[in-house]
C-alpha cells in the first residue's frame, strides 16, 4: 500500500525566529532604560508610553483596514509598539497628550503606511513622528523636567496625568516652576551667551559626563544594546561606527578648542546618542543592509549629529541625522555590495 504525503519547499524546518520576536526583544532591551527614566524623572514616561502605544495601535489598525491588509497579523508584529516606545522615550515626560497623537499619526500613517507599510518605509517612523512634533510644537517639546533629586517640586502620578491631559500643571504649580532646560540646552545657551564650557557645566543639571540622570539612562540603554548584540538582533557595526565617529571627531574638536567644545565623553552620554546608536540607527528597514554599508551609515549619523549639535538650530541632532542618513541608505547600499563568492 502506498501512502501519500503533503509536499512543501525546503528547508524542512520550522522557522526559528519571527518579526514579532525581533521587535519584542528590542522592546525588552529598552525596559531598563524606561525604568531608569521613571526613577529619575517621575512617572510621566509611563503615561507617555501608554498613550503612544494606544495611538500607534489605533492608527495601525485603521490604516491596515483601509489598505485591506490582515489586521491581526500585522498588529501582532509589534513593530508599531516599538515605534511608539521609541517615540515616547524622546518626548518630555509631561508633554500634553496630543503630542503622542500627532507623533503617531505622522509616524504610523505617513512615514510607515504611505510608504508601503512594514518593511517598505524609507524613514525611521519614530524619528519622523518626533521631528514633526519637535518642529511643530517647540514649546511643548522643550518642557523637560529636572531629575527628581534636584527638582524643587515633584509631581505624583495624579498630578502628572492632570498635566498631560489638561496641558497645564495643577495649580499652584506652573510650567516655569517644574521644568528646566536639558543639559544640552543649557550648554548651548551657555555657549551662545559667551560662557566657557566649564562655566556652563557648573549648572546642577550636569553629572559626571553628560546630564545628571541622563547619563544613567544612557548606561541602561547601552546595557540593553549589548544584550541585543549578544542576542544577534543587531550588529556591532552601526553602534560602533556611530559612537566611534563621535568620539574621534569630538576629541579632535575638544583638543582644538576646549573652551567651546564639550569633552567627547559628554557628547556620547548626552541626549539621544546612545539610544540612537543601539536602538534607532540600527532599525534595519530604514538603514543599510551590508556590514560595510552599516559602518558608513553609523559614522554618517554620528558626524551629522555632532555638526547639528555644534552649528545647527537644535541642541540635539540624532533624529535629524538618522533621517538624513535614511535618505542616503539606498545609495550607500548600492556602493557597498559585498563581493560575491568566487567573483
Amino acid at each position: 500500500m502506498s501512502r501519500t504525503f503533503e509536499t512543501g519547499g525546503a528547508p524542512h524546518f520550522p522557522p526559528h525566529s519571527s518579526v514579532a520576536g525581533v521587535m519584542l526583544q528590542v522592546i525588552y532591551a529598552l525596559m531598563p532604560a524606561i525604568a531608569a527614566h521613571a526613577w529619575f524623572f517621575g512617572p510621566g514616561i509611563l503615561v507617555q508610553l501608554i498613550l503612544a502605544i494606544a495611538f500607534a495601535l489605533g492608527f495601525e489598525a485603521l490604516t491596515l483596514k483601509i489598505r485591506k491588509k490582515p489586521v491581526r497579523l500585522f498588529l501582532g508584529d509589534f513593530s508599531a509598539v516599538l515605534t511608539a516606545v521609541l517615540f515616547a522615550l524622546c518626548v518630555p515626560p509631561l508633554a500634553p497628550w496630543w503630542i503622542a497623537l500627532f507623533g503617531m499619526l505622522f509616524a504610523i500613517v505617513i512615514a510607515k503606511h504611505l510608504y508601503g507599510g512594514l518593511g517598505y518605509n524609507m524613514f525611521n517612523p519614530a524619528m519622523v513622528g518626533y521631528v514633526v512634533v519637535l518642529i511643530s510644537f517647540p514649546q511643548a517639546m522643550t518642557a523637560w523636567l529636572p531629575p527628581l533629586s534636584i527638582a524643587q517640586d515633584s509631581l505624583g502620578l495624579l498630578d502628572t496625568m492632570v498635566t498631560i491631559f489638561t496641558g497645564n500643571p495643577p495649580s499652584p504649580l506652573s510650567w516655569d516652576a517644574i521644568t528646566q532646560a536639558t543639559p544640552l540646552d543649557t550648554l548651548r545657551t551657555g555657549i551662545a551667551s559667551g560662557q566657557m564650557i566649564s562655566e556652563a557645566r557648573q549648572s546642577p543639571v550636569f553629572g559626571d559626563f553628560g546630564g545628571l540622570g541622563w547619563e544613567w539612562i544612557a548606561n541602561w540603554y547601552a546595557l540593553g544594546g549589548v544584550w541585543l548584540l549578544w542576542r544577534r538582533i543587531i550588529n556591532w557595526h552601526v553602534p560602533a561606527a556611530m559612537i566611534g565617529s563621535v568620539l574621534i571627531l569630538g576629541t579632535a574638536a575638544w583638543l582644538a578648542d576646549p573652551g567651546n567644545n564639550p569633552a567627547p565623553l559628554q557628547h556620547v552620554f548626552s541626549g539621544a546618542l546612545i539610544v540612537g546608536a543601539f536602538f534607532i540607527a540600527t532599525d534595519p528597514v530604514s538603514g543599510c543592509t551590508s556590514n560595510r554599508g552599516r559602518l558608513v551609515f553609523g559614522a554618517g549619523v554620528g558626524i551629522i549629529t555632532l555638526v547639528i549639535r555644534r552649528w545647527g538650530g537644535y541642541p540635539d541632532g540624532v533624529a535629524f541625522a538618522v533621517l538624513l542618513m535614511n535618505m542616503a541608505a539606498p545609495l550607500i547600499d548600492r556602493y557597498t555590495r559585498p563581493r560575491i563568492f568566487g567573483q
Binding site: 500500500m1 502506498s2 501512502r3 525546503a10 528547508p11 524542512h12 524546518f13 518593511g119 560575491i340 568566487g342
Partner: protein, 518 residues
C-alpha cells in the same frame, strides 16, 4: 603585492583550515540512524528504474517489454552523453516500460523500466580489471563511464565525465568528501566506518585515473571513530599519498565549493569548477562505487540510504537497490511512526518533499527523511522583508538574498544576474534564519528556472533567426542558380536557333545555287 598563484596555493590543501562565510550550526540528529549496522534490503516484488535520475534528458531504454535481464545488464543509456548507463538492479523480466511516479526534483512522473525479479538475483557476466595498478588510465575511465557511476553526494553528475575531463587538466589533488553537513544524513559516516578499505581503494584508483599526486579525505570533527578506522585502512593499503583531514561541522561545509575553501582558503571562481584550482572533488560513496566498478566490474545498482527522522520507527542505514519503492525501505525500518507527515528525499535543508512512498530509490537518494507534524509545526504566514540582513550574514555564497528576492519578484532579470543568482547553491541557510518566513529558496529556484527559460528562448530565437537566414540564403542561391540556368538555356537556345538560322540560310543558299544551275 605579488598575487599568489592559486594553483600553487591549492597544492597546500588541508595543511591549514580556513573559515568560510556564513553557514549555520545545526543540530545533527545523526545518532538515531547510526546505532545499527548497514542492512541489506530484501528483494521486492517489483522494481521501478527511472530513466531520468538527474537534470537533463531521459536515458534511452535499451530493453523491450518481456525481455529477460540479468542483474547488472544495462537497461538505459544516455546516447547524447556517449556514456553513463542505467543497469538492472536484479535479474528478472521487464514487465513494462511505462510512466510511473519518479523521485525527481521536478515531482513529475517519468518513464521507468519495470522489472519483475525472478528471485535468483543473478549477476550478468562481469568483466573486472584484474590488475588496475598497471592498467591504462583511459581504461579505468572507460570502466567508470560504462558502469553508470555518478556523484553519490546528491549532485549525481556522471563521474566518468568529470574524471575524464579532470584527467586532461592537470589535477594535483583529489578530495574525497566525507563530510555530510546536513543534519540526519549518516550514510557516508556509516560507509566510512564499515567499508574504509573500499574507500581507500577507490581513492587510489581515482587518483591514478586522473593522475593526481595526492588524496585528501575530508571528514567531520564529530565523526568519532571514523578517523581511526580510515587511518588504519590507509596504512593497510600501503598508499602514502592519502591524508585524512578533519573539518569543523558547520552547515554547509560539505558543499563542494565550501569544502575547497575550508581546505585551501581559495574560492572556486564563479561559473568555474574546482578543476580550475587543480582539484577534483568526489564523494566517498562515489569512490567505493568506482572501486567496485573497476575491481569487480559491477555497475552502480545500489547505494546506502539513510532512512531516518521521527516519522520512522527504527531509523537506520540500508543498502538499497536503485528502483526499489521507498515504501519497502520504510517497512524494513519498522514502518511509519505516529504523526509522520512529510516524506523527504535528501536532508532537511536541501531535500525535496515526495508526494508518495511508491516513488523509487534513485542514484541521488542519500537519505529518506520522514518528519512529523511536531518537527514541522504549522506554516507561519509570510511577512514583508524587514531588511534585517540575517540572510546575507549566513549566506555562504556571500550574496544578498533580500535584494535577490526583490529583483526576482519584480522580474528584473539582469539585476538578478548582477546579484549573483547563478552563484546561489540553494543551501537554504538564508531561508532558515529569515524572521519574515519568506520562502527564499523557492524564489531562487523559480528565478533560476526563469533565467534558464529566458536563455533557452534566446537560444531558440537565435537558432530560428539563423535558420531563417540560412534558408533565405539557400533560396537566394537557388534563385540565382535557376536564373543562371535559364540564362544558359536561353543562350543555348539562342545559339541553336542562330545555328539553325545559319543552316537554314546555308540550305537556302544551296537551294538558290541549285536553282540557278538548273
Amino acid at each position: 603585492m605579488i598575487q599568489p598563484d592559486p594553483f600553487r596555493q591549492a597544492r597546500l590543501a588541508g595543511e591549514q583550515l580556513h573559515p568560510f562565510h556564513g553557514g549555520l550550526r545545526l543540530r545533527h540528529n545523526k545518532k538515531i540512524s547510526c546505532e545499527t549496522p548497514i542492512e541489506k534490503t530484501a528483494l521486492a516484488t517489483r522494481y521501478f528504474v527511472p530513466l531520468l535520475q538527474h537534470t537533463g534528458r531521459e536515458a534511452e531504454p535499451m530493453v523491450s517489454e518481456g525481455q529477460r535481464v540479468m542483474k547488472g545488464d544495462p537497461v538505459g543509456c544516455f546516447e547524447h552523453l556517449g556514456s553513463g548507463c542505467i543497469h538492472a538492479p536484479t535479474s528478472g523480466t521487464v514487465t513494462a516500460i511505462a510512466s510511473h511516479a519518479n523521485s525527481h526534483p521536478s515531482g513529475k512522473e517519468g518513464v521507468c523500466i519495470v522489472i519483475k525479479p525472478d528471485g535468483l538475483d543473478q549477476w550478468t557476466e562481469l568483466e573486472p580489471i584484474a590488475d588496475w595498478q598497471n592498467a591504462d588510465p583511459a581504461e579505468l575511465i572507460t570502466a567508470i563511464r560504462q558502469k553508470g557511476i555518478v556523484g553519490l553526494g546528491g549532485a549525481v553528475f556522471p563521474t566518468g565525465f568529470k574524471v575524464s575531463e579532470a584527467s586532461q587538466r592537470g589535477i594535483h589533488t583529489l578530495v574525497l568528501n566525507g563530510s555530510e553537513c546536513e543534519p540526519y544524513i549518516s550514510c557516508d559516516e556509516m560507509l566510512m566506518r564499515e567499508q574504509p578499505d573500499s574507500i581507500v581503494l577507490g581513492a587510489r584508483i581515482l587518483q591514478k585515473a586522473i593522475g593526481a599526486e595526492r588524496t585528501i579525505i575530508a571528514i567531520e570533527d564529530q565523526m568519532g571513530v571514523v578517523n581511526q578506522v580510515l587511518s588504519k585502512a590507509v596504512k593497510r593499503s600501503g598508499a602514502d599519498k592519502i591524508d585524512i583531514v578533519k573539518v569543523t561541522t558547520i552547515y554547509p561545509e560539505g558543499g563542494e565549493k565550501q569544502l575547497i575553501q575550508v581546505l585551501t582558503g581559495l574560492e572556486v571562481p564563479s561559473g568555474g569548477r574546482p578543476t580550475d584550482l587543480g582539484i577534483l572533488c568526489q564523494n566517498v560513496a562515489t569512490a567505493t562505487a568506482v572501486a567496485r566498478a573497476v575491481t569487480e566490474g559491477k555497475p552502480l545498482i545500489e547505494r546506502i540510504v539513510t532512512v531516518t527522522g521521527n516519522g520512522v520507527r527504527r531509523p537506520r542505514n540500508l543498502l538499497a537497490q536503485i528502483g526499489l519503492p521507498i515504501a519497502n525501505l520504510i517497512d524494513q525500518c519498522g514502518g511509519y511512526a505516529e504523526g509522520a507527515s512529510r516524506l523527504i528525499l535528501g536532508g532537511p535543508m536541501m531535500g525535496y518533499a515526495l508526494s508518495s512512498d511508491s516513488n523509487p530509490v534513485i542514484k541521488a537518494a542519500n537519505c529518506i527523511l520522514v518528519m512529523t507534524e511536531d518537527d514541522l509545526r504549522p506554516v507561519q504566514p509570510e511577512m514583508p522583508c524587514i531588511r534585517c540582513g540575517e540572510c546575507a550574514r549566513v549566506c555562504p555564497a556571500q550574496l544578498l538574498p533580500q535584494s535577490l528576492v526583490w529583483a526576482i519578484r519584480n522580474s528584473l532579470w539582469e539585476e538578478t544576474e548582477d546579484l549573483g543568482l547563478g552563484d546561489c547553491i540553494e543551501c537554504g541557510c538564508c531561508d532558515f534564519v529569515c524572521p519574515s518566513h519568506i520562502p527564499l529558496v523557492e524564489w531562487f529556484r523559480f528565478g533560476k528556472s526563469s533565467l534558464q527559460a529566458a536563455a533557452r528562448e534566446r537560444d531558440q530565437a537565435k537558432l530560428a533567426r539563423e535558420r531563417f537566414e540560412s534558408r533565405e540564403a539557400r533560396l537566394e542561391k537557388l534563385k540565382q542558380e535557376r536564373k543562371t540556368r535559364i540564362e544558359r538555356k536561353k543562350k543555348a537556345l539562342q545559339d541553336r536557333s542562330d545555328k539553325q538560322d545559319e543552316i537554314a540560310a546555308a540550305i537556302q543558299r544551296a537551294r538558290s545555287r541549285q536553282d540557278r544551275k538548273s
